[in-house]
Symmetry: C2
Subunit: 230 residues, 2 copies
DNA sequence: ACCGTGCGATAGTATTACTATCGAACACAA
DNA sequence: TTGTGTTCGATAGTAATACTATCGCACGGT
């Protein structure tokens, strides 16, 4: 990933580049807000069109359907996260500290000043929390994967897995641990808000509780591997 | 949970008891097969009606909508899992062994002869793998939770969390660990099949690889707590 | 003055997700 | 046997969703 990651979006994401026009930018920015407000299921292009005072058909010129818009928004989120991860670990020597910083990024909101893409970062994170599974838990997953549309998510996962491998080279499941931690960092806050008995946190203790939970999980697992020599 | 758990389904799940009539049983049994085949999004009551040679309106007499049918099916799955968990730990003394057995249950398919409910257990598990998030990752989550419809899932999670607490009383996040392991036991096989680079398994190594991954995760975390006295 | 692009405007279609009503068939009870 | 209730088939209809297609104007650049 390079510094201007914004220009390397997969061209299958959108029918035309939404960042190139005023309407395109409105679709993406307001689409994020509205999809988060209504939830993916209740979100429609018609409602978005009314919100930004345009027509449904105009939105379809940019995105094939709402699933692609969601994927577009999540791609931004994953790219931003990977960028934040790279920034955090580039000026750090100690691998253990790198991992700590990355887990911190997963638990807290994206630090300000990372790169202003004009998207509401909190909304982006919230959207990822509640809707991101819906981009791949569908029958079309293999087709979409074939044209590389999940690459940003995988890249993020691989970056984290690399750190785990660097810290504990003998550990045999770095990628599974990375994807598990990534998923847990979204699920646990969602559970806390809606199904709190599935967690041990309280509204006050989170996100520090979550941070501690994930750090303990990761380091216990990796350290055990180091000690036992597997 | 008692032995005849089948009779204690929440009455808000269905408009009338589908086990009481021939049509109701067909809706549930064929609904499971068809929803798994088509995926939740492409599944409709109209298609199910054609498959079982009845009318759409007749299905609506049993379930408000397809979301409730999914919830009904998953409730069976969770109840079955909890029952299997209870069976597995009741004739075991050692807490560590209990946990091992339960993790085994999460990774492998439900043992035969547990109780024939007439539902295809493999299909039920596959449905849970790919669709179960969709029952709670929606705007209506709080309403549904209010009428206790997620209780079976929570109960299962709590059973597992209790074991963790029994094994490592000082560990502060037994429920979060349980929900994380529960989710991971579904996500990892799904990733293996569709987005394999998010895992470290191969089609051959799974599900033993998954079992080892989760066991290591759980015991490393709990054992670390015991040693460090937190 | 010409040309392409973006977009508004309108229209139309198939499918989805329901809701309502009616009447035949049957089951059981008086 | 007659009444009563329940199930289910059959039909109809509605509002919303998820698109697709076409036309023509306004604009910015060449």
């Amino acid at each position: 990933m390079n510094l201007r990651f914004s220009i390397h979006l997969n061209d299958k994401l959108a029918l035309r580049d939404p960042e190139a026009t005023e309407l395109g930018r409105k679709i993406v920015r307001q689409g994020l807000i509205l999809m988060h407000q209504l939830g993916y299921e209740h979100f429609t292009f018609k409602k978005l069109a009314e919100a930004i005072e345009t027509k449904e058909a105009s939105i379809y010129r940019y995105f094939e359907n709402k699933h692609r818009l969601l994927l577009y928004l999540l791609t931004w989120h994953w790219n931003l996260m990977e960028y934040a991860v790279l920034l955090a670990i580039n000026n750090t020597e100690d691998t253990r500290l790198k991992i700590k910083k990355v887990v911190g990024l997963l638990c807290h909101s994206i630090p300000e000043g990372i790169e202003d893409v004009g998207l509401d970062k909190k909304a982006l994170r919230d959207l990822a929390t509640s809707e991101s599974n819906k981009v791949y838990l569908i029958k079309e997953v293999d087709e979409i994967n074939k044209v590389q549309l999940f690459k940003p998510y995988k890249d993020l996962c691989h970056r984290i897995a690399e750190l785990f491998s660097a810290y504990a080279p003998q550990y045999p499941y770095p990628r599974s641990l990375a994807s598990t931690v990534l998923e847990a960092s979204r699920f646990q806050p969602y559970f806390l808000e809606h199904l709190p008995s599935l967690t041990d946190f309280t509204q006050n203790s989170a996100p520090d509780g979550l941070l501690h939970f994930l750090e303990t999980l990761v380091f216990s697992t990796l350290d055990a591997t180091i000690k036992s020599e597997f």
